[in-house]
């Protein structure tokens, strides 16, 4: 039998803070608590830590330190990138419908920001994706108008894990001289991200998806790209993000980026092996089970299934009792009572979307845990199918 430890398979939602990250952070709460803007030496220590972290974050994406702006997380980074560039461009193309291109499967941090800008007079094109969740590049290119100033497309999707062809998108953006932003919140540490190779102008990072704490993140802003700040105040972070810097959080983010870089090849091998075993085990052991998202172009830690005739929330509740933490795109688990927009965008029917299950792995998961999931999940699916009027053998 498995011990009482929880099997955490929801790393796309959040990750635990790594011990090394925590230890690095701790002195900055009680010992080195200075304000990085202060002139005295206590401020100097904080300032030094801030700049050291900036270097580490820059390194993981091959950027320059002065291109990193610290924020409160992925949501703020996305908002700053999109609103910041939008407000800069509003006057330039006034009255002509300044135009943004994004995808229909973005995280709400991007989607809702774009919807907000639509109310302010911007035009937005939400690109469709294919059945695997890949943005259609021909439609992207056809959607470009002379008023298009921004393309914002995520590096990899948080639900189905599909990886987008960001290098090709970067090339298109460059050819048409359009700013390219990518939400890389889910990809850092899981695949190499090189801002120079991708040709990206802005890139969002979130701490809590990469073993740093919640509430800290960063935005890469390429030299030469100017933004209008969305937070006004004391002019921190090159005037782009006012507010006394969250030094412990930023130190944690820096350490997490350092570890992400150092451990990437080991992480990829370990996690991908387990993930492949999990996918194979589930598809083999559960009839009428399917994989959502692209079979190969997917994040190394993402397994996303759908099971005919059952509903995801009850599946999550049952797995929870068995000690397994997972997630679903079913409407019944969301506050809006709508099935996931991502699952609908890849062409699933609402009923199919309700039967979805996302399992996202992390560094600490073990082979034993995956074996237990492969053994337990079929039982749980069978129990719910027995209760379901939609299940017909």
């Amino acid at each position: 039998m498995i011990d009482l430890r929880r099997i955490y398979l929801d790393h796309a939602a959040t990750t635990p803070v790594d011990r090394e990250v925590l230890l690095e952070m701790l002195p900055y709460f009680t010992r080195f608590y200075g304000n990085a803007s202060s002139l005295h030496s206590d401020g100097g220590v904080a300032h030094e830590a801030l700049e050291k972290a900036r270097e580490k974050v820059a390194e993981v994406i091959n950027a320059e330190p002065d291109e990193i702006i610290f924020t409160s997380g992925g949501t703020e980074s996305d908002n700053l990138a999109i609103k910041g560039i939008a407000y800069k461009n509003k006057d330039k193309i006034k009255g002509k419908g300044p135009h943004i291109i994004t995808s229909s499967i973005e995280h709400p941090a991007v989607l809702e920001t774009c919807k907000f800008l639509e109310k302010e007079g911007f035009k937005v094109k939400y690109l469709p994706v294919d059945r695997d969740g890949i943005v259609k590049l021909d439609i992207l290119e056809k959607s470009i108008t002379k008023n298009t100033f921004l393309i914002s497309i995520m590096a990899a999707n948080n639900e189905i894990g599909t990886i987008q062809p960001v290098e090709e998108i970067g090339k298109i953006a460059k050819d048409y001289d359009i700013i390219f932003h990518t939400d890389a919140v889910q990809t850092i540490g899981k695949m190499p991200m090189d801002v120079k190779k991708i040709n990206v102008d802005m890139l969002s990072i979130s701490g809590h998806k990469i073993y740093a704490p919640k509430g800290v993140g960063a935005l890469y802003v390429k030299r030469g790209v100017t933004l209008q700040p969305i937070l006004n105040g004391g002019g921190h972070e090159r005037k782009l993000r006012s507010g006394t810097e969250n030094i412990p959080g930023i130190v944690g983010l820096g350490k997490a980026c350092e570890l992400a870089k150092k451990r990437m090849s080991k992480d990829i091998q370990h996690i991908k092996n387990l993930r492949d075993k999990l996918i194979k085990g589930i598809l083999e052991n559960i009839e009428k089970s399917y994989l959502n998202g692209h079979p190969e172009k997917r994040l190394i830690n993402n397994a996303h299934f759908r099971f005919t005739a059952i509903e995801g929330e009850s599946l999550i509740m049952d797995l929870d009792e068995k000690g397994i933490a997972a997630s679903t795109g079913s409407a019944c688990s969301s506050k809006k009572l709508q099935p996931s927009h991502v699952l609908l965008a890849i062409g699933l029917t609402p009923v199919e979307a309700h039967g979805s299950l996302r399992l996202t792995l992390g560094r600490k998961n073990t082979k034993n845990e995956i074996d237990y999931v492969i053994e337990t999940l079929p039982k749980v699916v069978n129990r719910l199918r027995e209760i379901s009027p939609l299940w017909k053998k």
Partner: protein, 133 residues
């Protein structure tokens, strides 16, 4: 929804649903909900002398939908049809020590399914009388 949002009773009925299954020769069958919205339930009843002598359910849906289905079968079993018609959605939720507000509408269809099953039984009775059986 998280496990902590549900009462212990909801969780208990979800994990150990009572009277789950079908009645092949049911006297009345009621189906409500829509799988597109994530919930569908069917209630089967056997009736003798205007009393529900057996009742079973099948449900596609969230933990609340399954728990309310289970609870309604317990509430209705042995009751007269008149009594069973008076069971409300609120009664079901109260018996389960409450439901999260967001679940009160969408997943609390069990009383409707029961009433539909009883009406189905009455319809069938009427037809039977007409055809003189």
């Amino acid at each position: 929804m998280s496990a902590g949002m549900y009462s212990e009773k909801v969780i208990e009925h979800f994990r150990n649903p009572r009277n789950m299954g079908e009645i092949k020769d049911a006297d009345g069958v009621g189906t409500v909900g829509n799988p597109i919205c994530g919930d569908q339930m069917t209630i089967y009843i056997k009736v003798k002398n205007d009393r529900i002598v057996d009742i079973k359910f099948k449900t596609f849906g969230c933990a609340a939908a399954i728990a309310t289905s289970s609870m309604i079968t317990e509430l209705a079993k042995g009751k007269t049809l008149e009594e069973a018609m008076k069971i409300t959605r609120k009664d079901v939720a109260d018996e389960l020590d409450g439901l999260p507000p967001i679940k009160m509408h969408c997943s609390n269809l069990a009383a409707d399914a029961l009433h539909a099953a009883i009406k189905d039984y009455w319809e069938k009775q009427k037809k039977r009388k007409k055809s003189g059986k």
